[in-house]
Point group: D2
Chain length 344, copies 4
Amino acid sequence: MKAAIIGTTGYGGGELIRILNNHPSFTIHSVHTTRDEKPVSAEYPHLTGIFDKVLTSIDPDKIVEEADIVFLATPSKVSGELVERFINQDIKVIDLSGDLRLKDSETYRKWYKYEAVSNSILGEAVYGLSEWNREQIANADILANPGCYPTAALLGLAPVLAEKVIDPKSIIIDAKSGISGAGRSPSLGTLYAELNENFKIYKVNEHQHIPEIEQQLSLWNGNEVKITFSTHLIPVTRGIMTTMYVNLKEEWDTLRLLDLYEETYSRHPFVRVRKEGIFPAVKEVKGSNYCDIGLHADIRTGRLTIVSVIDNLMKGAAGQAVQNANIMFGLEETAGLEMMPLYP
Amino acid sequence: MKAAIIGTTGYGGGELIRILNNHPSFTIHSVHTTRDEKPVSAEYPHLTGIFDKVLTSIDPDKIVEEADIVFLATPSKVSGELVERFINQDIKVIDLSGDLRLKDSETYRKWYKYEAVSNSILGEAVYGLSEWNREQIANADILANPGCYPTAALLGLAPVLAEKVIDPKSIIIDAKSGISGAGRSPSLGTLYAELNENFKIYKVNEHQHIPEIEQQLSLWNGNEVKITFSTHLIPVTRGIMTTMYVNLKEEWDTLRLLDLYEETYSRHPFVRVRKEGIFPAVKEVKGSNYCDIGLHADIRTGRLTIVSVIDNLMKGAAGQAVQNANIMFGLEETAGLEMMPLYP
Amino acid sequence: MKAAIIGTTGYGGGELIRILNNHPSFTIHSVHTTRDEKPVSAEYPHLTGIFDKVLTSIDPDKIVEEADIVFLATPSKVSGELVERFINQDIKVIDLSGDLRLKDSETYRKWYKYEAVSNSILGEAVYGLSEWNREQIANADILANPGCYPTAALLGLAPVLAEKVIDPKSIIIDAKSGISGAGRSPSLGTLYAELNENFKIYKVNEHQHIPEIEQQLSLWNGNEVKITFSTHLIPVTRGIMTTMYVNLKEEWDTLRLLDLYEETYSRHPFVRVRKEGIFPAVKEVKGSNYCDIGLHADIRTGRLTIVSVIDNLMKGAAGQAVQNANIMFGLEETAGLEMMPLYP
Amino acid sequence: MKAAIIGTTGYGGGELIRILNNHPSFTIHSVHTTRDEKPVSAEYPHLTGIFDKVLTSIDPDKIVEEADIVFLATPSKVSGELVERFINQDIKVIDLSGDLRLKDSETYRKWYKYEAVSNSILGEAVYGLSEWNREQIANADILANPGCYPTAALLGLAPVLAEKVIDPKSIIIDAKSGISGAGRSPSLGTLYAELNENFKIYKVNEHQHIPEIEQQLSLWNGNEVKITFSTHLIPVTRGIMTTMYVNLKEEWDTLRLLDLYEETYSRHPFVRVRKEGIFPAVKEVKGSNYCDIGLHADIRTGRLTIVSVIDNLMKGAAGQAVQNANIMFGLEETAGLEMMPLYP
């Protein structure tokens, strides 16, 4: 199968190259950019001699003709404009931006400050949370790849929400992300000297991933769910941890809850549940597609603390995108994604 | 005034030297250790030529005779054993460990796993949260210097708890600390290669600062307060951020709440309240004694998010200790503590 | 082929697991430690669910009987003691320590401060600089895997030394390494708070890699070569850069020198030569087995600056060990080593 | 004395505020920028409540009228344009850029790629290497503050060059700098995700500090000196280490050389010489104005290794600028500069 990548020079695009270049079933047919045409290795010297294809401009007709799947690793708004060119064509589309994730265009406008794509596209796009939406993904032509924070949060919350053991009104998500999540465009806020030895909170109660998480939680819950969600920048390159606090409706202890998680995720190769008393750290998934989960129920307060970690560029972006591509093409879900965490 | 420092080779002890060596009213009379006698600069080469005193063993009688104040920068349990030698003597004592902070010896035993010091000592020791306990501190002979996390959390929560605008049952504190808080004793868990590019949660619902925070919150509240409290390690050397979530009982908006904080802390030189829409980052207080606070009330959920940052070795340890010493000796509260944050 | 790994809990051992677990021809038959028997994942949680073998004690007879190759990822001195148990047996041995590298036992004693292994073992052990010793490696039973610094330095110096265009008396190597090179044993000097935001020089003119580099350079040169060699610690986990300064005997310019390097390494998949004006950075090889080289000849001074970078745990340890194992067993040199650099 | 600062929003300007705000003899009269007028704390939130002056545009006449000294913390080229407005006026000028350092305008043009300022200004400007040019500095009206790398290199080389114990043709300087040296303007090359976990070499044999170092070395030597000089980026915010290699003309051993350095710098409070076997690390001077030096003479090769470290924003920029201002105004050389290194 031939893949085209648009938005290659960002970190998500770079990670798609790392995965697909060694993938057993996909080959990278072409890489595209809105900037100058030049070898990818001029932008990413680590690819020298490994992947030397030249970045070319975006010609949707040619891409449709030549490729089987196109990955849009472009920013929000750019993806939305591009996606119309690939709709109802003989090509599968996976969009890594936020443009296709929210079903309600009004909500999109409110949180993203742009106009949404057409309702028909929103209606057709399948939300690609691989572990929970597998059947729809298998039949999708257009896939909205989940956001990095939503992936970590939703995988951590799903089992207890589905099992109705928590109060859905009580959900608080304290999320922390490595800096690569902020992208590769130069800005004062992402300079080394500003972020090194620093730890910042940003977009308090205003992050565009809030409606994305709420949309999925509400679907699972049957009624609308509202969350409190904070995002922080950790001075690391890769990695997300979400620390989540929920009130238990029933007196389940830690072991019983861990059993539920173990059972829920037993057939899902990329979700690993830690034993009692052990919590995952972000470096334990670095460079891999795993989502690791730990939890503790506090009998003193009746609250449950759930911790999930992912690599934001892998399970939070390019890794899950390829996992979804595997499902869409009927391949082994883990194909091309067996790389182990890089530790230390 | 002459100061003696015990436990000089830890990071708290080193920071006391940094402050007191340039203090207008205190001189460092002697520095002590349980290890080999040698110049401090053999342990801390950055002090070469600046502070070359020799570390000597601990002789409490001599210290009492020669010094006006002794700082115990020793670990919990060690402090408890030492403090008895300085009680009821002509010397002021400031203990930076957790040994004198909890008034109830049973609670201490439960969370620290050691026996507490005698009830008479616990009764006499004043909890040194400078901004909220000034009068008692001014008259104290023995002072329990607050923990790093409790300092950040309590300064952030005090105004809304005192004003009764939040539900005291709803308090969730998600805390993050730089690595220097883990001390200077070699261990696998604090090696560079283990913590670099990593972010960990630890002691979930088991941290010994939980009862310390609850004790003070309960005092302010009039009734027992229980909290949910998580601690994480940030890959930075210095800095604590506490992100706190509470349910508002009344519909105060962000501006009204910020006014309350501004007013509460207007006469306190080391607490700085950020304007609406702005939150402090940990590097904005590095190397200084400030505690910076920002907050946002979310009308969607009725929850308030409060953020406070400190330098864990300064306002979280040595800085607040000197601030308290200043108060105990009737000096200007800011004496020796005017150093600005080191940015970037 | 079945591989046994001794010294599994160090960073070199962990990296061998990462490589061999996905290797097309080797399987990890057993992992051994001198510490307690327990699952590897208890020591390395990132392996949870991926590689759950139990660490067992070291039984050389059993290992010889069951495995085809044993990797000694043990510290110097420990390797020397172990290697005798595997000599003249039906098993290949690759030692990652410094114990078998120096041919002269007196030199070993001087720089390592221990007694060397027997001369017969030293004589039999082949120095495994893969690109330059391939024939001997292919026939080796015992292999001394090169040190991390020597690998980077020798690959960078070999072409110009072999071509006789530099003055061999003028070689100065300024080397910088990430902290994982210091191993996983807790010590004050490798604590996060000591190394973070720091940059240190250590073992000036005393590093045990000096005789290793000189031994190989002298072999190539025909006469004894003495070098000046300095080592520094970079606050990163992985990566080595050697910046090397040599006097040109002839007036070769940068382009002609780059041609020489390109030609020399054209058939060697793991050495990449940068174009004129471009120098490699350590993150461009992270997690991969590449050695990247750049250089510049300065006509003002007649000196050549050569820069080489490797990942110290890969090409500098476990990666080159597997590359050598591939050669020893007649496999494709790149088998199991195709992982791309992890960037960013 | 009243000081004006131009170029306040860069890291050098920020550091001038940190120093001068607590200086016993200088007050910061005004701060200027070419950007929008706003409070400094809008740009640097760590100054909130400490230093809240508003940035104003640059009015040279007004500055001359109101201030006693102006610090140009502006980039090269900008400084050169500004300095003419302050020349021959009743105000002292300290320029932190490279525009006034090179006496030969042709050399400036070659390395900086701009036109130099007039020869009369170049002739009048005094090179402010405080420890070696004190007398001229005391009488200067215009001062060229030395570059960060030249300060570290020259202080380390001066004693042996002056004493004629080294071969001046043999000087090799391998320099490493923290990222704040690259300034505060957003660029791909200084993004966190690009530099974190990385180590880069840049401007090989092309750095504009080469002629600055050579100019001063040549002056001391009496004949022209040419050096080999490499610069690397360390992933830390502050700190420079220069590792220097020179051939000894005479057989001086380490101790004799250290005696020379001790004696040379005994009356200079900001230069500290380490004992035999001990080398300084960059964090040992962080936030302070010290330059620490260590060295080792290798009898095997006849080469001397000299190591010097500074904080690039302090002794390498704002710290030395204030040290020079103190000398220019006849104040104590250490006034306002007694801050101790911030460790850890």
